[in-house]
Symmetry: C2
Subunit: 231 residues, 2 copies
Amino acid sequence: MAPIENKIWFLKHCELFSQLSQSQLANLERRSFVKSFPKGAPVYLPRENADAIYVVASGLLRIGHITTEGKQSTLAIVEAGDIFGEMALVDDTERGEIVETLKASRLLRIERDAIQELLATDIQISIAFNRILGLRRRRMERRLKNLLFVSSHDRLGLLLLDLVEQFGEASGKGTRIRIRLSHQELANLIGSTRETVTISLAKMKREGLLSSERNTLIIKELEMMKKRFVN
Amino acid sequence: MAPIENKIWFLKHCELFSQLSQSQLANLERRSFVKSFPKGAPVYLPRENADAIYVVASGLLRIGHITTEGKQSTLAIVEAGDIFGEMALVDDTERGEIVETLKASRLLRIERDAIQELLATDIQISIAFNRILGLRRRRMERRLKNLLFVSSHDRLGLLLLDLVEQFGEASGKGTRIRIRLSHQELANLIGSTRETVTISLAKMKREGLLSSERNTLIIKELEMMKKRFVN
DNA sequence: TTTCAATTGTGAGCCAATTCACAATTCGGC
DNA sequence: GCCGAATTGTGAATTGGCTCACAATTGAAA
């Protein structure tokens, strides 16, 4: 991908802003900042105030929580083109979550006021935004459902199907999940432990559902996977 | 509460619609229907199409899922003044969830087209709607967080704190949760079993955090409860 | 009040998944 | 290619919470 020369280029390539007029884009551009983060750096912390939303230009990040004893739980993984921190638009209380980079990332930070102004004046954007929040919420609810009453092994299966939707790409031998996640990271996503994830993945490989290649997972039998884990 | 004579009275008392003009209200009124449901009746099923949103006029309902082996998991409980089924505004795919009454309920059903028209023309409503979805999403994320890596006992504690926020009212001896939920229903909300909930509640009572009276729970020591379970 | 259904309480046995501990492998930077 | 760090693999011991089974209590309807 070409380096991001200017913010406008980038804004245009983001789902939410794709339909903005030139002047709206220019306005947003004036009121946003590009920030770069090395791998493993925090973007914001739970106690910080929610005063801006972020658009991911490049890289990979996790949105998560830290439980009492330092355990990390991961709510979502976001990549280029995604938006996060949009709760800032509801109110500006504290974030309540931690966002940190999994890879070096470049972010576009848009101040709360700027985006709110835009939403108040452009009904198209407001509706588009509704839609994005709605879709995000649906994903959240599905994850909630997948956690209640489901065994650790099955939660992992369901997570892989989720990841396919978000990061899947066709590949010779099946569907590849194009980002690399450690077993620990997968465990954080399903509320389990690293060891249990290792064992479950091995089992799925033994059953021929899965294989791994160059650090990424490949779902060999997507349909069988769905039949096995969904509903 | 007075019986709902006309829909307008009711619409006006719903957060989302409180600021509508007379003509907008009249328009909505023309395009909505009142429906009554006895206790335990389904409002819609997971496979049905999402073609309308609902406003609760009176009663109590649960929004939930049914897992493979017939287990019920509950995503949320809603009461008078609440909105549900609003995913219909994002798209009209299938509901994906079941809604059923816990008490006899009266609902206002508003067709998808009507509400979408309203959102497209009135930016105030669109923004208010954004807000409601946002707040709802925040609650969802918190519940997600409360399920990952948290013991069954602690999940129950956190749930009670959530319920206090949604249904709490001051009472002589503390904060009363003004709706009655069976141990089974509490278990459905935290992904646990009826027996485990019984034991955990007994423990909290023994510790003096909790008491029950006339079928409802009373949190005697709200601050201690928070200190014990939050963060 | 009586009666039947639903809810609550409690114990025994069991199993999935966690913790802990350590070895094998792979990765990333120099 | 080499080396320290991170990740992955695997076993043994432990346990939280589930299942099953049944009794006690409370609620609702007639």
